[in-house]
Every structure is written in C-alpha cells, then in structure tokens.
Symmetry: C2
C-alpha cells in the first residue's frame, strides 16, 4: 500500500521534511497546517516541490471544532473552512482531516452533527475536497470511531467519510474489529501510531509519547488487517507526535519512520495469510521472512591495540584460537563464546564493542529482509575464499553480522568463518559455555529506533523495560531477546553526559571455578561492598558460610522462584567490560537489584582512575 | 523546625550526599537503604562521618511488605527486620520507615496488621528503634493515612507510630486536615514533597516526578500547618524522587532543597499567623516578608561592545540617556523602559541578557529574605556616593537587582540610581511605555530550581506552563509574574543543544508608530511569512485592509475575549533580541500560537547567517 507520513512527525522546516520523506522513499505526506503557516514558501511552491520530489500531498490537517455547534458558530466555521479549502486548492490537496469538536460543541446530537457535516460536505465538494471526520480520544461528545462513523453515515454525503487513527482507537481500549463494518470507500484516510503502555491523560499521551509502529505496546499489524478487510486501499500514514523525534535529524527519522511502515505492512500481510485472508492480503507488500537468530557466533571488540583485552580474556579462561589469515584480527574462545579482536582501521580507538555475529537459519533471507527495511549495510572487503558475511549497522553504531554456515570440527560444530583463523591450541575451559548477552549503550535519541531495528530486522522480542539508579542518574534498560534466550541484547540509555560501559556477559557452568582461576591469574574485579552482603543476608537469609564464599570471590547473587543467579564484573578496558554469570534452574532474568551496586562501584573506580 | 532530607533526592555517592547536605545547612538526613547498600563505607564509618559533619541520621528507609501476611511470612519478615535493626544500631538511627504492604499482604484486616505491627514494635523496642508506619498511595490494602493511623492506634505500642508523606496523601486527593486528629507524639516522621498536577499512574508519578515544595501544584504550607497543629515537632524532611535532581550536581541540589524547606517553613508560619494560630506557629521559623516587585527598573545587556545594540535601541526609538559616572555602562530609555548597556568585565562576550533591576517596596527586607534563602549575592564594587543595589544570581545566571529608592525628576519619578548617569537629552518616544517582560532560557536541569527562586525570593506567581513547536523541537515556557503584571519573566527550556535567544519585550501604546519609525531608521525584522497572514484571515476573519496593514509592518497579531495583541521581533544581536508589543483591552497572555512562526523564522535567519 502507499506509504505516507504527517509532517509533524519530523524536525526541521517544511522543505527539510519534504526532502527527507522523498529520500527515505515515502509516497506521500500529510501537511500539518502549523508547518505550512510557519514556512516562507507559498502553497504553490510547496506543491511544486512535492511534485518534483515525487511526493503526493495526501491530507491537509487538522480542521478543528466544526460540528455540533450553534447556528451562528456554524456560519463562522464554514467561513473558516472556505479559507482552508482555498489553501488546499493552492496546494492541490483533496482530503481534509476534520477532528471531532473539543471546544465549541454545544450539542451531542448525532443528527445535528451529521447535518452540519453535510453542509461542510457541500462546501467541500464545490472545491473538489473530501472531508475525513475523525473521533479524537478526548472529543467533547464524539470520542469513539464507531460514533464518528455513525455520524458520517447519517450525513450521507459523498464528500464525507471518516479518518481512522490507531491512537485514538487503541488508547481508549476500543476494539478495532468494528472497522471491518465500515465500507472501505468511506474510510477516507488511515493514520497509524503505536504508543507505550502508559497511564497518562490521553491528551498528553497523544501529543508527546506516540511511537512508530513496532516500538510500543500495541498490535498495529492487527489494526491494519481490519483496514484491509474493510476494503481500505488508501495510504498507510504515520501520525506520530513524539518529543524525541521532533528533535532528531530529519533524514534519519524519516528513514526510521519508513522502516516502521515497511515492517508493519509485512506484519499485517502475514497475519492475513495466517487467517486465510490471502485474497485481501494481496493488497499488501511482504518482505523476506525472519526467523529469530539461534545464538551468538561471536562478539567483536575493536581497538588500535587489543592487547589489554587479551590479558583479561586469558584471565577469564578463554584461549587464543588464532590469527585471521589476511587481517589484523584475532580469535579467542571458550565453549561457544567467541571473542574477535579487531585492530583493522582502528587507529586511536580505545577498546569498544564494535559488532556481534549472530547465527541465523538463512542468512540470504535475513539480509534481504534487512535491505527491504533500508538498513545500512556494513561495507566489507573480503579476500578470495573467505566468507562474505552480511553485516548491518544498528542505530547505536553496533555492527550486526549474520551467518548460516556451520562446519563440524574436532571441538564440535563451529561457524564456518572460524576456519579463516589459524587455529591455536584450544583451551580447557569447560566452565565457560557461551555468550549470555551483550549490553550496549546509546543516547536518549536513538532508543526507539534501536528497538525497532531489533524487532523488525531480527525479530527479537521486547520484554518489560527496567531502570536502575546510578550515582549520576537513572539508567533505563530494554532487553531485546529471542524467545529461546539464545540472543539477548540489553539496550541502555544512560543519563546525559555520562559514559556508560558496554559489557559482554559470558555464561558459565561453575562460576566459583572461573572466579578462582581468574584470581590465580591476577584479574582485578569491580569490588563489591560489604554492605551488599549484609543486604543479601537480610533479603534472603543466607548463612555465614554462603555469604563468606560469595564475598571471598566478590560475587553478586540473586534468586527468583525459578532458580538462582551469580555474577561478577571486570573493570572496564577502554569502554568495554566483561561480566561472568551463572544461571541455575529457570532463572531467566537479570539481577536488576544488583545494577546500582555495579554502577556505584564503577563510579568509584572511575573516580580513582581520574585521581590517577 | 529541624530540616532533613532523604539521600535519594540527590546524585552522587552517599559520602557526597552527606557532605552536600551539611554544606547546604541541613540538620539531618534520611538514609535511603539502597544508598547504604552500594557504598563501600561501613555503617560505622557513615555514622562517624555524619557526626563529624553535624548531621543527625533521622530515619532509615524503607522497610517493605511487612504487615497483613500469613504466619510463616511474618516470621521471615521479623527475621528481615532484625537484620535491618542490626544495621540501624551500627548507624545509630532510631526510626525506621515501614511502608504499607504492596506485594505479600493476604489480608486487609486492620486487626491482623495491628497485631503484626505490635510484634514488630516489640522487636524494635528491644533495639531502641521506633517504627513509623506509612500508607503508600499504591498500598495493596492500606493506601490512606487515616487507615495507617487507625492501624497504628490499634497496635497500641509505644514503639509504633506513623510517618506522613505529603505525596501519598495529596496525590490521592485525601484531605490532610485529619492529620490534626493524630496525637503529635504518634507522628514519628513527616516527609514532604510537592508534585506537578499530572494524570499519571501514581507509582510513576511518585518515583519520577516529585518536586521540592514550592515547585509543584500543591499547598505544602497548608500541609505543614496540620502537622504543627497536631503537635508534631520532629524534622521536616524532603523525600523527592525526581529524575532530574538525580542527575544534577549534588551540592547545588542540596542548596536548592534547603531553600525549599526554608521557604516552606516560613509559608506555614504565615498561614498559621493568619489563622490566629500564633502560639503553635512559634515552633516555626519565619524569614523577612516578601512584597511582589512593582515593576522593572531596567534590563541589563552586557557585551565587550554594545554598539550594535545601541543601533537597534535607536531604531526602536529609545534615547541615549547618559554614561555612568565611574563605569563603562550606558543608559538608554523611553518611558519607563530603561536598558543598561554594560561593557565592564565583558571581554570576548557577545551581547546577552545579563540582569534585571526590579523596583521593590523595601529592598533591605527583600535582601534579608534572599539571604535567608541562601541565594548567591552578586559581588559589586561601588564608588562613594553611588547606590549599593542588592543583587542576587538566579539559577540561569541572570542577575536580579532590587531597588526601593525613587527620585522625582522633570520627566517623572525615576529610580534613584539613574542619577548616576550623565543625563543626555531625553527622547520623544511617547509610544514606548515600559518593559513588558523578559524571556530567559536555561537548560532542562535548571528549570525547577529557577521556578523556586522566583516564587520564594521574589514572591512571583506561576500560571500554567505552555509549549511551542520549533523546527528543532518543543520549547517549554513557564511565565513567572506578579499579580499586577508589572514583572513577568518567561522561563524557557529549549531542546537540547539548541541555543534559544533571550528577549526583551517592550510594551508600547502605538505599535504602528513604533514600527514605522523603526522602518524609517532601517531596523531589520524577523520576517513573517505570507502563509501566516492567510492563517490569520482564516482564524479571525480579518479583512484585506487590516491584513495589509499587519503585513506591511510585519506585525503578528492575536486576540482573546478580553482584547487584542500586536507584536514584532528584531533579529538577534549576540544572543539577545527585542520584541515590541501592544496590548489592548484586558489581553493579558502571550500570543502562544505565534511562537512557532517566530521560531521557524529565526531558524531561517540563523541558517542564512551560517551560510554567510
């Protein structure tokens, strides 16, 4: 279906917005009236610019407080409408959004509202304009799309139909299934927005906290199936009021927005196909399938000099497995945990988490999907005989590589690319099983985009977000994960101006053994304060011997109804550090209560190192 | 009364917090348990540090999910309590906050809860500890302070009383007057927080959006009168969970917090005095009276070279009134609008809004008040015979000077300091009447502190905040004003990394005359787009002649039921620009709908100037 976006979703001038939407690949836009009012370009210039860029102007919005008013007010409202229709004629826009009256309505009579909309329809028709009537969630009398449709039906005018906005319907908890009872040709327009689950007055929620589809709590795919089943074939248009997107780079947000619509259309098509609605589903474009990744192939740390990281890896019990045949890249491993150390094109760079390699069932399909979602590919130079892994850049800058080739080796099944390394002697660290998760950090303005990247490109799930208090403010975390837990990526938004370490968490089967070896080899730790162990005693009733063992190895602990959890952290090297953890039973979360302990301890280490 | 604060209000380590609270002048603190858990200092060290700093440790908090549970759970809860009491003994804290059960309660029986609290009281008494039981706003069964008191009353144990937290009471809309029915000696602790009026789930509201008293929507002064009338004489303690304060500098926030309590105690004392409760009011410290300022004496612009500003002032019709006798400072004026141009200590500085001078009834009293509120004074060097104006630094860095001396001159009553300038020939600009308002801009982290500064130090009022969309994000505005409108200061929070101009708004009586003269003298304007005038036509039905006059002079317009409003803006010079406005009838607001037009036009000017 055609893809459109309201100009209010983006930052910048109206001209910036048009260029960014065209560059991202949108088919059309909704002109948000205040954006037109503040530009110094005439409506004719905007129309000509849109023409040149290949963008249709799909909607003019909003026209407010029209229906349900006293006769004298109606005359003034029709005068206002005439002035807007003149502007629309100059722009060449043929549909206007009329939202339900919030301010001047004096009657809730459907008949009066319908009669007044019929008069508006007559005026509109004389300008070749169609009126798309929308129930705002906070409309004075009309706040339910079923009622706005009833009024439009009563108006019985060819120029009067409805606009359906997912926000106004889903925020009120209204069932969108009744959309299918509206004739498709009377749905003049469809606006789509997701939103986080919030208990907030609906006006503030709507004006500040909408999200692009796929980023919030709602099933927008299902919403679109109702539109399609109703016979709607107009544009799928985004109307997302969001304080963050209003500040971020126009072009970047436009791409991000389009990715959301491509994902959404595909998702709706899949739902229709599952329900046997293949026929109507033909209206929707699908992209390549996504199967969730099976696990981590590797994690890549990049730096001009990765020597310090190698010391830590050795202390943790990983083994050097070889040098890459053609590149300054080295592989360390233990169990299924593989760490790639990359010194290529890394001049002046401190050690940092640069990429992750994920195992997938079908790398070609996954790459097709990523390309359809307009994700930026990682340019790579590959020598003859080397595997050409598909790589994509996540919003935080993390590179994500996809691989579906495995080879059988003496030490078990390995990713095929591992053969490009001159294998050293494998170590004997049976306790380290693999990579449990990686913890990445990004700015407040990249978070929603990152969530959409991991859901749409990789099919990851999004459990409830958490937050932890650090000495410099709250750190918000959103884990993205596969259903199996094979891939978990924790996305962290740190307080402004605070550098938050990335970390790589290694899962092990005997954390005491790993800790002892690390101590023998001289690994420093992020120290755990004594008060923490007193707190564990109070919380869990642990005995002295157990607490003593935890304290001896500076381990932190948690337990849930399902099982137990132990972990420790290394100090950071560059901007990266390692966590070693052990889960038993069905313990499947993260020790959220321990995070403030870690943050405070890291802060002490950082201050000590600044003091020299 | 004694002043205390929960460590959770502040950023930094526990040690940082103790130092900052002592430096700010607090008498004591509440130890927020997670702050203790994450520190590497032992409880004994914290106790010793607090002793040395002269801070009492007034409360240990929180102890959760104690009452209303099954017998086996009760035993575990008593075990947990014993461990916490051990810690409290090491800290030397004698009061523990027990908040109502949110997770493990299985019965809402007041008798069961009371019986269990009695057992806790026995255990506490054996440690010399008192239990302050608090109803959380989201408690499972107990969410009303009147019920928590009923349970504490039933418990009938000398070691069991209540803690009253203004947030949990006022967020639920409960009447705080019933506090007076609780015996003062059973109110073991009082926690104070203000909050903005929000429709948000009460848990999120409580954990992220509390404010210091005086910054939100509630009447905390009234709340304190109920405490005092009940006979409570314990500490007034702040417990403010706020995401911003958790990130701002520890010492600055501690000072800001103490200012809030000093203001609050004074306010409660005044309320009691008004009600004839002078006797109980004797428990409260008062500070000097505040009378709202009468108007602007002057606005000060500072720069290494203020020449460009003088050109604009001349174009606007102000006259050069003289050079200061001893300083590189010049005075321009028209009507009651006085602009002081200061080139002293201004090396490399671009023109910026540096200060405002306000007329007050009693400058000595106002200064005493500012000093009692621990506001930073402006250091000034004054020559013999010159007026020594008291000056204070607002959180945005703006200097606020107070003056109560007036002299009669040929051109009317003038501030006495004006005599320090060699008067030039006064101009003939009768159209400019005075300074209508100034518009200052500060970072997201200074806003609440600034609001408190203007309410507590100057007694300004705080109407509803507004916001306006600019091309780089939303700009939030809070006008602070006197009841008469003589002083209005608009506080703006611009999007991150966006430099938002300060402006000085001059009120006039004939904006067309001012605009014509400015045009004759070559003043450039912030241009107003044609689409804006089309919008005015649609909104207000203005005729062609009226619109033509507005457009000819590039004026913007608004009207309300009360009257009309016209204004225009000059381009910025340095970081400051001028607005000229005219109000008629009772128009008493700002043309909020015009702000996006201004922001977009300024953005175009800025881009053009960057292009060179």
């Amino acid at each position: 279906m055609r893809k459109s976006i309201a100009t209010v979703c983006l930052s910048g001038s109206l001209e910036d917005k048009l260029h960014a939407c065209a560059d991202a690949g949108f088919d059309g836009i909704e002109i948000f009236e205040p954006d037109l009012v503040v530009t110094d370009r005439s409506p004719e210039e905007i129309r000509a610019l849109a023409d040149r860029l290949g963008l249709s102007l799909d909607l003019y919005q909003p026209f407010r407080d029209f229906e349900g008013v006293r006769p004298d007010q109606l005359e003034d409202n029709l005068r206002r409408a005439r002035a807007r229709f003149e502007t629309m004629r100059r722009l060449g826009v043929d549909t206007v959004l009329v939202c339900s009256n919030v301010a001047t309505a004096t009657t809730g009579s459907d008949e009066v509202a319908a009669e007044q909309l019929r008069r508006l329809g007559d005026l509109a028709a004389s300008y070749g304009v169609r009126v798309a009537y929308e129930a705002l969630a906070w409309g004075r009398y009309v706040d339910d799309y079923r009622r706005s449709w009833e009024i439009a039906r009563l108006a019985d005018h060819e120029a009067v139909g409805v606009c359906l906005d997912s926000f106004h319907i889903l925020s009120r908890g209204h069932d969108p299934a009744a959309i299918e009872e509206i004739p498709g040709d009377k749905i003049f327009f469809a606006q789509l927005a997701d939103a986080p689950a919030l208990t907030l007055d609906v006006l503030s929620w709507s004006r500040h906290h909408r999200l692009f589809p796929g980023e919030g709590a709602w099933d927008l795919g299902r919403f679109v199936t109702h539109l399609v089943r109703a016979g709607y074939r107009g544009p799928l248009s985004l109307e997302v009021f969001n304080d963050v997107f209003r500040q971020t780079d126009t072009g970047r947000t436009a791409q991000h927005a389009l990715r959301s619509l491509v994902w959404l259309e595909d998702r709706a098509a899949r739902l229709l196909a599952e329900e046997g609605g293949g026929e109507v589903g033909a209206a929707l474009d699908r992209i390549a399938d996504v199967d969730e990744p099976t696990g981590y192939d590797y994690v890549e740390i990049k730096a001009e000099d990765t020597g310090e990281v190698e010391v830590v890896l050795d202390q943790l019990g990983l083994s050097f497995r070889g040098q890459h045949r053609t590149k300054p890249v080295r592989l360390w491993s233990a169990g299924q945990a593989r760490i790639v150390l990359n010194e290529q094109h890394a001049r002046d760079l401190e050690p940092h988490l640069a990429g992750v390699g994920l195992g997938v069932a079908d790398a070609a399909a996954a790459s097709d999907r990523a390309r359809a979602l307009a994700v930026r590919a990682v340019p790579r130079r590959t020598q003859a005989g080397e595997l050409d892994l598909a790589g994509f850049v996540a919003p935080s800058g993390l590179e994500v590589f996809l691989n579906d080739r495995r080879t059988e080796t003496r030490s078990g099944v390995e990713p095929a690319w591992a053969a490009e390394f001159d294998h050293g002697r494998p170590g004997h660290t049976r306790e380290i099983a693999g990579i449990d998760h990686v913890n990445v950090s990004h700015g407040w303005d990249a978070h929603d985009e990152a969530v959409l990247f991991y859901t749409s490109v990789l099919g990851l799930q999004k459990p409830t977000a958490t937050e932890a208090a650090g000495p410099q403010g709250l750190v918000r975390s959103q884990v993205m994960r596969t259903g199996s837990g094979g891939v978990r990526i924790s996305l962290n938004v740190a307080p402004l101006d605070v550098s938050h370490p990335q970390h790589i968490a290694l899962a092990c089967t005997d954390i005491f053994a790993v800790a002892r070896r690390a101590e023998d080899r001289g690994l420093p730790r992020v120290p755990v304060p004594d008060n923490y162990y007193d707190d564990l005693r109070a919380r869990f009733g642990l005995d002295d011997a157990t607490l003593g063992r935890l304290r001896d190895h500076q381990l932190m602990y948690d337990r849930s109804a399902a099982g137990e959890f132990w972990h420790f952290y290394t100090p950071r090297v560059g901007s990266v550090c390692f966590e070693v953890l052990q889960r038993t039973g069905g313990y499947d979360v993260y020790a959220g209560d321990n995070t403030p302990v870690l943050l405070a301890a890291q802060d002490r280490l950082d201050r000590a190192s600044r003091r020299g």
